[in-house]
């Protein structure tokens, strides 16, 4: 870990401008991912801007009938919120499927969206990784890739986004609200928030330098039955091999997004039209562009079977 300086601003704009002034600075909230990466010399900020004092920790109804979740709402509180449990069950289920109780107590909504990949080569500084060290190559390609991406990957990077919460947010059509150093705000649809790696895998989101997430908004509830099916090698405290976030309506229509497959939550709206026809049709369309490795080709079949199990359960 590199030595760093630290400050704790009191307003979002102050925080954003503190970062904008220094390209080697980073925000810190729960720190559940960033601190680990700093200890391992993967993230090396020289300055940390602690956003925990910004008061962005409320869950409020929106004028449109949705919910606005402050960037600093802890995962535990979000998952336990009565409105979220009742109207956005997929989100509660996804959050409690992730990490451990201790981590969820600390981890924040915005931080969770920004968590970095768990690719083992990203984690080992002796190995080539275009995400950690742009231009150094990708040791995962041709290496061990059982956990890694099957779709949306590139010649430069086959890492996945490890999140659970973000998969639920994707199926809920959430939007991410931000503020920049000048105090300007904007909203980013969750579909556009995470980026595919292309030849710049180090750029993982649509955020501009210094831009701070202030909230995540959920549109009006869409009803239906909510599912988050996470498939993993052990019963708890493991990243998804595959996860399925789904909202299924009584008529069999619905929405579905997949985790564990891609550098971002994977949702293909066009394929959702086939939900009433069953999992295979959906999977065939959603994964048409898949480029799995020998190690992880099973994920496609697994995703299809997990979706099938969800649809079977939805039919009752």
């Amino acid at each position: 870990m590199r030595a760093f300086s630290y400050e704790r601003p009191t307003t979002p704009a102050e925080a954003a401008s503190a970062i904008a002034a220094r390209p080697d600075a980073k925000f810190i909230a729960g720190g559940t991912n960033l601190l680990d990466l700093m200890k391992l010399q993967i993230e090396m900020p020289a300055h940390l801007v602690d956003v925990n004092g910004l008061g962005l920790d409320k869950i409020e109804p929106t004028a449109e009938g949705g919910l606005r979740i402050g960037a600093l709402v802890r995962n535990t509180d979000l998952a336990a919120d009565g409105r979220v449990r009742k109207e956005y069950g997929v989100l509660s289920r996804a959050i409690v499927a992730g990490a451990s109780g201790q981590l969820r107590n600390k981890a924040t909504t915005a931080g969770n969206l920004l968590q970095r990949t768990r690719c083992p080569y990203f984690y080992d500084t002796a190995q080539a990784c275009n995400k950690r060290q742009p231009g150094s190559g990708c040791a995962a390609i041709g290496g061990i890739s059982r956990q890694l991406g099957v779709i949306g990957t590139s010649e430069a990077c086959i890492a996945t986004n490890p999140g659970d919460m973000s998969v639920a947010l994707r199926v809920l059509d959430a939007t991410v609200e931000t503020v920049d150093a000048k105090g300007a705000t904007r909203t980013i649809p969750i579909a556009e928030f995470h980026r595919l790696p292309g030849d710049t895998p180090q750029v993982e989101t649509a955020l501009k330098p210094g831009e701070l997430i202030t909230a995540v908004s959920l549109p009006r509830p869409v009803g239906g039955t909510h599912f988050y099916r996470k498939v993993r090698d052990r019963a708890s405290y493991a990243f998804a091999l595959v996860s399925v976030a789904a909202i299924v309506q009584r008529d069999g229509s619905g929405r579905v997004a997949f985790g564990g497959l891609a550098p971002k939550p994977w949702r293909v709206e066009a394929a959702e039209a086939d939900l009433p026809e069953g999992a295979k049709r959906v999977a065939d369309r959603a994964f048409a562009e898949a480029k799995p490795t020998r190690d992880n080709a099973f994920k496609l079949k697994l995703a299809e079977r997990a979706l099938d199990a969800v649809l079977t359960e939805a039919r009752g």
């Binding site: 200890k39 040791a139 708890s236």
Partner: protein, 731 residues
Amino acid sequence: MKFDTPAGRNPIDQLKVIGKPTDRIEGPYKVTGTAPYAYDWHDPTLTPLYGFVVGSGVAKGRIAGMDLTTAKAAPGVVTIVTAETAGPLGLGQFNTAPLLGGPEVAHYHQAVALVVAESFEQARAAAALVRVDYDEAKGAFDLAASRGSAKAAKIQTNPAETAIGNFEAAFGKAAVRLEETYTTPNEAHAMMEPHASIASWEGDALTVWTSNQMIDRSVSDIVKTLKMPKEKVRLISPFIGGGFGGKLWIRSDVILAALGARQAGRPVKVALTRPLMFNNTVHRSGTIQRIRIGADTDGTIIAIGHESWSGNQVGGRPEGAVAQTRLLYAGSNRMTAERVAALDLPESNAMRAPGEAPGLMALEMAVDEMADRLGMDPVQFRIKNDTQVDPEKPERPFSQRQLVAALRDGAERFGWSKRVATPGQVRDGRWRVGLGVAAAFRNNQVMKSGARVRLGADGMVTVETDMTDIGTGTYTIIGQTAAEMMGVTLDKVVVRLGDSSFPISSGSGGQWGANSSTSGVYAACAKLREAVTQKLGFNSDDAVFEDSQVRSGNRSLPLAEAGELVAEDAIEFEGLANKYQQSTFGAHFVEVGVDAATAEIRVRRMLAVCAGGRILNPKSARSQVIGAMTMGVGAALMEELVVDKTRGFFVNHDLAGYEVPVHADIPHQEVIFLDEVDPISSPMKAKGVGELGICGCAAAVANAIYNATGIRVRDYPITLDKLLERMPDAA
């Protein structure tokens, strides 16, 4: 005390303290954070510096150059240890690759430098500034590819190969045959406490506070490595946060802390970080195992053959996976062959039940497959092929062998008769359900072990031995032994362990620790009893020690009246191990559910029935067995050090990547100990159970998966991707 004839009746048989379920006597220290583990050692006179290990970034090659300039100039840095500054080092008897590499690199993350600084954070930050250029060389990292060049290798002192009768001929004409190849992966000990040491020099004398299972052997290896006299080294390791074999020897933390302290002129503490442990220390080698079994149609085994290949650094030991096949089942035509291939992966070494644990993962699956082919119940097939003598040397009976009883008792308790033999028939909601069984077998090793026992004027009894408690409950059983022998309650006994200034013990490993170390304490107590009776004027033959009194006939005196006395002795085992085969036996029963859609596997129920001699403390023994069963579930379902066969290292080198079972993976576990005393084993008539519990467990899980799904996976760990293609439709 020589132990060369079976034990007769002795004070241990009173079972006033021994055999009672007893809380750990050191438990309060552990749960209040007052047990000083190696890295926590707070001696106010020590103000240690912190060392941070730099591991090699390549698996094989040579260091072309090292640039330490920036690191040396970093804040707080006092000194940096490299092969160059350390000078020539020896190699310990129990190390294969040097603990400090350079210029040659023997494996990935082999230590190549130790950065010593005023604080841990400074040492870590500066370690990232050490620049090393390597000339990387090609290495051999793939066991399957190197199998052809493997060489026959002895299993400890046992031969590499055995042959009885005519295996090939008998197998060739057997009515029912099985020939299959099984693989087990490289596995990590993954104990909670990392390797950690504090080293301090006073002149030319070295003291090391560390976490180590085998004190005397490790002192010897420090002496060999640092080329110094044995009397100048003191090793202290009173508390150990798990070892599982990973701490049977010294590792880089010990030697680098010592070198760092010498170079800095101040004490230095070093802990290995978790990401470093998997490649820097040792692991259990992966194996490839070929098993052939031939039987008559009535299920009598007439031929059994087991060959195993494992990998290690040149000169390293084999895993020993064929060991149990020499002893577990009858059959007049037999062969075994153990081979080791030279690999450039990190050093392989012993992990909980070396040999038998992976050996039974294969053998007990093969036996299940054989029973299936014969159309026999797998419990009955095992019972039919039981033997009461060493099948390779029929003149040697087993001292005790309750395999059949364990299988029968377990089958009864587990409801085995309800198992549907045809696989894939039982469904419970989303789960396909299956039952599996496997035999458990682990040899009983006995080791010379010494102790010193002191009687105080206050009637307190203090035991000192360099024995270690690796979380197993050794403090307590040693206390129980001394209390039973001296006729006092457990609260009158003080146990001091893990210090090389105490008499040399068996140490903890190979499930020999409990039986051997308590026998050493027995020997010392027997001597102390002599001294007490003499002092108090009793006839030692009929003196009874009880209730802190010594009694003979009508005469009775307080034990404390004997005054301060000290006795030291060691138990030395001679001869009986040649005349009798000593082993522990058991049976594992497991119920699993396999998700019909995703093939996720979850264990639903487990039972282990164990016969391991006298159980000294049923509470801590049970704890040992359930821990071993948990490790067995890990081996069956998830544990694998994944090898990058190009770069030559274990890729998943942290606890997020190397998964071990979490609480949610472990269901109700039941452990039954069969009544057994084994007077051939020791005066304690005990054996061990800490490794028996892992032996066979993974195969029982695998066999249950087969029963649930009809899919046989012969490559561990059995992860869902290996089932998925063959899973029937979920509906």
